[in-house]
Symmetry: C2
Subunit: 136 residues, 2 copies
């Protein structure tokens, strides 16, 4: 029997925006939610409460700073934050700016789409520069 | 025109387990996920990044301690954490212990159920006592 490796151990999991020893931020280029980002703990850890208190604070600081960049650059109606990991139990945060005209609003983006629409990023290059600037 | 009051300003939002000046923990007795809990910021604030740094840390500490109680008492396959608020933009965290035989596993609990099953709490009284003990 071969055991499939964890995809977040084997691969970056998206376009790498920033990385250090502990964590990384990736832009996943989701087809329905173009500014959908993830913050991934590098080590294969399952739950937030498996981290030390300083590591929890470190990871959440990245998540909240990312939220702030998304708010400042894209003015979303809401930002959704989620650590689920039922399919990939390797600690990662979904950070998803939500717009009233996106495919799922006001439902969660994890279920069926309500409409066939995409809220596009007006200036993807400026968006990427703002991300890199925040985390450099 | 009358403006509907925010439901989380008007009501506890579930069975109150613990409350202080800043936040509260409620057991929402969800029909599909019986141990589904929420941690609610008392003040009407929209996003995590609207809170001060100490308030962010305070709220997340409650979320992670709640996660630890759920893990210790219920041994879930995974704990799901989410701050969405697209419909009720009053800061609250969903803290959901997930089980391989629950209605949505391994999908998020926010979409359509995959099966007609409920993972029940074996001893709800002991579960409630453990929650109250942790936060007293």
């Amino acid at each position: 029997m071969t055991i499939a490796p964890c995809v977040l151990c084997a691969e970056p999991g998206g376009e790498l925006i920033w990385r250090d020893q502990r964590a990384r931020i990736v832009w996943i280029h989701d087809a329905q939610h173009p500014a959908y980002m993830r913050v991934i703990w590098n080590q294969h850890v399952k739950e937030m409460s498996d981290l030390s208190l300083p590591d929890r604070a470190y990871l959440m600081d990245l998540v909240f700073r990312l939220e702030q960049v998304l708010r400042a650059t894209l003015q979303p109606a809401k930002v959704n934050l989620a650590s689920l990991g039922n399919m990939v139990p390797h600690l990662h945060w979904h950070v998803i700016p939500r717009f009233t005209d996106d495919p799922h609003f006001p439902q969660s983006s994890f279920g069926e789409a309500l409409r066939d629409s995409i809220h596009r990023i007006e200036n993807p290059d400026a968006f990427k520069r703002a991300l890199i600037e925040e985390f450099k």
